[in-house]
Symmetry: C2
Subunit: 336 residues, 2 copies
DNA sequence: CTGTTAGCGCTTTCAT
DNA sequence: ATGAAAGCGCTAACAG
């Protein structure tokens, strides 16, 4: 009733353990006869043999497992990154273990205590530069996604053309006639959001102005933040922003709720844009004009990069393109 | 520059490998002198020693790792289940590896090919009974969450009082005066949805009627399904349903969109209820009246159950209670 | 109290 | 074409 080992298979097939290893490892052509190979495979199937990974890893010194560190598992973006990474990994016989860093972008606790697996490498997504020290200490090959390329430690980076995305947003809104913007920014500071803020300022045409409000990445908090910013006390009807540019779809959803509470119609009275293009973007009403991020591709590239690094190869790639998806939450500003 | 082993630590501390193992394993009190223990710990810290998990696993024959199989990672419900399971696991020195079953509730492909880790046990959430054969073949201890308790194979079950939740929904709506219901059900058949359907029928008071429409778990699909069901062709104003009971918040969000397209106001013309209480429930407008499911608790109980099973203990627990959260998507039916 | 020893299951030379 | 043997890093008996 105990699990069969390669020795058991060897005995059953009447061969040696070494032969079993060769056949099942797929490196027998020219070293083991066709007939013996068949015998071994039959015996293995018969016994329901599965190689013991721990032993294999011990022997090989590698685990064929990568750790994907994400700031929040409940966020669909990271779920998609995982999906992409896991697909590429699987194609190369690798596995991916998820480690949701407990405190958002704060310093990651030792992931080995949680994801107890020996690891070959780490992929970290959207983490603050120093949030990975606990992992970096392990001196494992590290690939960073959507993170500061200047941050040391990482052997490769996969980034998105976030600045270009923000440019597209601004161009779209200014094209509609908007000039007074509110930037509903993420309260959690991380490189990716700093880039968006900088790009927003840079993209602004002459005569356009922007005010910034910060909020945690949470629908209710975003609603509160925007209500406070646009509320009655701030009610200079004349210079009220006509468009809210959000760092994220979640913030945008909150912004829409706030608008409704303040008696403003979206998009007639107030335009709202997001970032990410999560399922949420088309679940709300009106649907969000937002910047689509190819999350799965990010994961795929991340894993590809890690495999290259593990292989001793260099790896670089241009930023992944992002594209504005225009839906119902943006329109020309209200007339005077 | 190569990774230090316990032998290196032993040499550095001037003791034997066995002593290192005892000290670092925390089972030295009474077997190793206080002073030596200090020496060992210092040496280990100095060298940045980390035990090799593969070797430990090989030796112990267990990996302290559980696999959590979920039908969809992008669903926040499962993300929360994972969070709960991972917390309990961490408290016991266990890790949790996620395996998103590729084809929804279909037969799970061999997870070992993807999550390449040796496993001590499997926790499967909301999967069809036969979807786990590939795993069951491995004869690993299995705990099923939100799944048919009659299904064989599982050593323990964690379930939710879904039927009671559906009763609460019906009681709430009938209390408001509704009598004609539409059940927007999940197209993917799984035990959890069958239970909801049965409970709905059972809970219906005399004089109440229900019609069932199925849709994939997707906002757009749900919108389409409901539009088709309530659309102009079906426009017998007299016997139109006044309330839509959805199997899931995602379906409910789609239902709200459909209503809006059909010119029906929610909740004045049409009440809508969901299930799950995801972030989505409060992101949409109006916010959803829905049944809150304690997802993290489900994960916690699942892991607790698995630990008990691995420990040779029996484990049973009553269904976890669920509670209706009344928000803005339900109201009395429109007058005649 | 501490060291010696054996062996977990696998892959890989090196002989045959 | 196949087998014998060594050893990956760790832990648990068993000696001392």
């Amino acid at each position: 009733m105990t699990r069969p080992t390669s020795r058991d298979v060897a005995r059953a097939a009447g061969v040696s353990q070494a032969t079993v290893s060769l056949v099942l490892g797929g490196k027998w052509p020219g070293r083991v006869s066709e007939r013996t190979a068949g015998l071994v495979r039959d015996a293995a199937a018969e016994l329901g043999y599965r190689p013991n990974l721990a032993a294999r890893n011990l022997r090989l010194g590698s685990t064929r497992t990568a750790l994907l560190v994400v700031p929040a598992l409940t966020n669909e973006f990271f779920a998609r990154v995982y999906t992409g990474a896991a697909r590429v990994a699987a194609e190369h016989g690798f596995g991916v273990v998820l480690y949701p860093s407990p405190d958002g972008t704060g310093p990651a606790r030792d992931p080995f205590a949680s994801a107890r697996a020996a690891l070959d490498g780490v992929i970290a997504s959207s983490m603050a530069a120093d949030a990975l020290e606990a992992i970096g200490g392990a001196a494992l090959p590290l690939v960073m996604l959507d993170s500061d390329p200047a941050a040391g430690g990482a052997r490769a980076h996969v980034n998105l053309a976030m600045a270009d995305g923000m440019h597209q947003v601004v161009a779209h809104l200014e094209g509609l006639g908007h000039r007074r913007f509110l930037h509903l920014a993420s309260a959690v500071r991380s490189w990716t959001f700093d880039v968006r803020a900088a790009a927003l300022t840079a993209a602004l045409g002459p005569g356009s102005t922007v005010r910034t409000v910060r909020s945690p990445l949470d629908v209710q908090a975003a609603r509160g933040a925007l209500e406070a910013a646009l509320g009655p006390a701030e009610g200079h009807r004349g210079d009220r922003p006509t468009a809210v540019i959000c760092d994220d779809d979640i913030l945008a959803a909150g912004a829409c709720k706030a608008a409704r509470r303040l008696g403003l119609r979206v998009p007639e009275d107030l335009s709202v844009t997001g970032f990410d293009d999560l399922a949420l973007a088309t679940a709300v009403e009106p649907e969000l004009t937002t910047v689509h991020l190819p999350a799965e591709q990010v994961g795929e590239h991340g894993m590809t990069a890690l495999l290259a690094v593990l292989d001793g190869r260099e790896w670089t790639a241009p930023d992944l393109p992002v594209g504005l998806v225009v839906r119902g939450s943006t329109a020309p500003p209200p007339g005077p």
